[in-house]
């Protein structure tokens, strides 16, 4: 509750929060079928129809409603982003935490493994995963999760390592607390703050990567709508139907912006040191 209030009183947090909320509502509306038109139905008479009262954002080459497709696209992006970041944060935190806790050669080998993954530029690693598993939504989720797991592992390991040697953990050990109790109660709870910041920023990056993979034709496959695919399809119709490009483009941009702003606000709140840099 206190965190929510802190976010609401932070300008970036407020704007970011509102953007994310609007996107979530649009995604939810499309999930329960609350879209202005059928996103896949083709209205041949109204092909490349400019935005008006019936088609708020116009129609595409096949006479499909852009707004409805956009809403389903947002849902698609959010599913990929949330699933991949959920997997990455769980796997990464577990690896980082156990690495710090067990120490010695476990730590060395797990972290070297993470270093190997970090040695690839992110988009390249994602492309490599797509090359192995073939294009599609599930592949996008796996690809983004693999790219982000080592980052979460590092974020979790650092603080866990310093917490491990603190007195309260020593005390818990002396009292005979079990390992799993210490790990979840004492270490994990103290990691929540840095991990939350990382999750928000990871979501921004996941949205971007999902759109990029679909744009390259390696993510969501047609006829399912996705923001990246809509943008890629708009390339050749740019001059006759600029709305096909502008609306999905802005949607991707503001989605990423929302998570970035929210993440920035969270970082300020979690790490008050960075507040001094703000106005």
């Amino acid at each position: 509750m206190r965190l929510l209030r802190a976010i609401a009183s932070h300008p970036s947090g407020r704007i970011g929060g509102v953007i994310i909320l609007v996107y979530l509502l649009l995604a939810l509306a499309s999930a329960v079928g609350l879209v202005p038109h059928d996103p896949i139905a083709q209205d041949r008479i109204n092909r490349l129809h400019a935005p008006d009262a019936t088609y708020w954002m116009g129609t595409d080459l096949f006479g499909r409603d852009v707004l409805s497709r956009l809403m389903v696209g947002i849902r698609q992006s959010f599913i990929v982003a949330f699933c991949s970041v959920a997997i990455a944060s769980l796997a990464g935190t577990l690896i980082g935490l156990l690495s710090a806790w067990w120490g010695s050669w476990w730590d060395a080998s797990l972290m070297r493994l993470m270093d190997i993954l970090l040695a690839f530029p992110a988009i390249l690693l994602a492309l490599l995963v797509v090359a192995v598993f073939g294009p599609g939504t599930v592949t996008s989720i796996i690809a983004i999760a693999i790219v982000y797991t080592p980052i979460f592992a590092r974020v979790a390991r650092g603080p866990a390592l310093s917490l491990k040697s603190r007195e309260f953990v020593e005390a818990a050990r002396t009292f005979g607390s079990s390992e799993s109790y210490i790990l979840t109660r004492h270490l994990l709870l103290n990691l929540v703050a840095p991990l939350t910041v990382q999750v928000t920023l990871a979501l921004a990056w996941a949205l971007l990567t999902e759109a990029a993979l679909s744009f390259l034709g390696l993510g969501t496959q047609p006829p399912d709508p996705s923001l990246g695919l809509m943008l890629s399809d708009s390339k050749n119709l740019m001059e006759t139907a600029p709305w096909l490009m502008i609306f999905p483009g802005l949607t991707v941009m503001f989605g990423i912006l929302g998570f970035n702003l929210f993440g920035d606000a969270l970082r300020d709140i979690v790490d008050p040191r960075s507040l001094t840099r703000q106005a």
Binding site: R112, L113, D115, I116, L117, A119, F120, P121, A122, I123, L124, L127, L128, V129, V130, A131, V132, A204, L208, A211, A212, F215, L216, G217, L218, G228, L231, S234, K235, M238, E239, P242, M245, I246, G249, V252, M253, F254, I256, L257, N260, L261, D264, S274, T276, R277, A279
Partner: protein, 320 residues
């Protein structure tokens, strides 16, 4: 053990790991080099033909032997033969690399030339409206995917000026320098914009940190001119994180800006990797991914070493 030595010692281990990941990843792909080359026609091969092709590609051996051969080949610069180009993989990659290098350098120049002054400007006007404007633009820049920006710029150019950027036939720098630069300008601006946004943010926040330091206060109190304090005393120290960021960004860019190269039809390393993946040219995928990862790792290493040189606390291993 000090930081530099540790970093240098783990480098070959990581490199070995990267090669194993690339090798295994490609072996996990369903189908083999024969089906990749012949498609459905592979089904028409007799057992003897299949066996001789398998021997030709070396895939009749156990994985460990295949890996050993692959690595041995690497040391001789032999990355195999690309099925799509019918040429050695290394030759194909190296023919594409100059373009990616040029594009990366141009993008870095754009990013630093815009980002550093913008960051200093915002830091010295901390909290004022002009600072806020710079920060909003930087935030938007960081949140705009390159493909969205590229398409928007092309749209503005074509709608506003009736002008389309020269795309399609790529003009090499050595053939027509002016035509080449004109062609590279827009992609470089697209790539440089997002980088400029990160540089602005980092420069701003690290300038603000430095401006509060004692030595800056001393310089001010002894009456050094404000401009000298900012550009000569504060900025050099504030730029240390910018050096790190630039090195990492350069590593990313050298990996080929896959999407930007694709949009502007530039035959660079990024587009090559993408083509190799969609064409299922696995020797080329392996080679290109390894090449890019190696570039990225070397640059990361150089960044860490530069950082250690610039900041003695890192060199002596105290802050890590």
């Amino acid at each position: 053990m000090n930081y530099i030595a540790q970093r240098l010692l783990t480098f070959p281990i990581i490199l070995f790991g990267v090669s194993v990941v690339v090798f295994l990843a490609i072996r996990l792909v369903p189908g083999d080099a024969i089906t990749a080359m012949l498609g459905t026609e592979a089904g028409l091969l007799t057992d003897a033909q299949r066996a001789s092709l398998a021997a030709y590609f070396g895939i009749d051996q156990p994985w460990i032997i295949q890996y050993g051969r692959w690595i041995a080949g690497l040391f001789h610069g032999d990355l195999g033969v690309s099925v799509t180009y019918g040429k050695p993989v290394l030759e194909v990659i190296l023919s594409r690399f100059p373009l990616t290098l040029e594009l990366s350098i141009l993008a870095m120049v754009v990013g630093l030339a815009v980002g550093i002054p913008a960051g200093v400007f915002a830091a010295t006007r901390n909290g004022r409206a002009s600072d806020l404007v710079v920060r909003i633009i930087a935030m938007l820049g960081q949140s705009t995917p390159s493909f969205v920006l590229a398409l928007l710029l092309i749209l503005i150019l074509s709608m506003g000026f009736g002008e389309l950027p020269a795309m399609g036939n790529f003009i090499p720098l050595t053939v027509d320098p002016i035509g080449n630069i004109l062609q590279m300008l827009l992609p470089a601006v697209v790539l440089g914009f997002a980088f400029a946004a990160s540089v602005t943010r980092i420069t701003r926040s690290s300038m603000l940190d430095v401006l509060n330091d004692d030595y800056v206060r001393t310089a001010r109190s002894k009456g050094a001119p404000a401009r000298d304090v900012i550009w000569r005393h504060a900025l050099p120290n504030a730029l240390i994180p910018v050096v790190t960021l630039s090195g990492l960004e350069f590593g990313y860019l050298l990996g080929g800006a896959v999407i930007v190269e694709q949009i502007f039809a530039l035959p660079g390393v990024g587009r090559l990797t993408l083509e190799a993946i969609t064409q299922r040219d696995y020797a080329l995928v392996e080679g290109a991914v390894l090449f890019v990862a190696l570039n990225f790792m070397v640059l990361n290493l150089l960044v860490d070493l530069a950082y250690a040189v610039l900041d003695p606390r890192v060199r002596l291993g105290r802050s890590r």
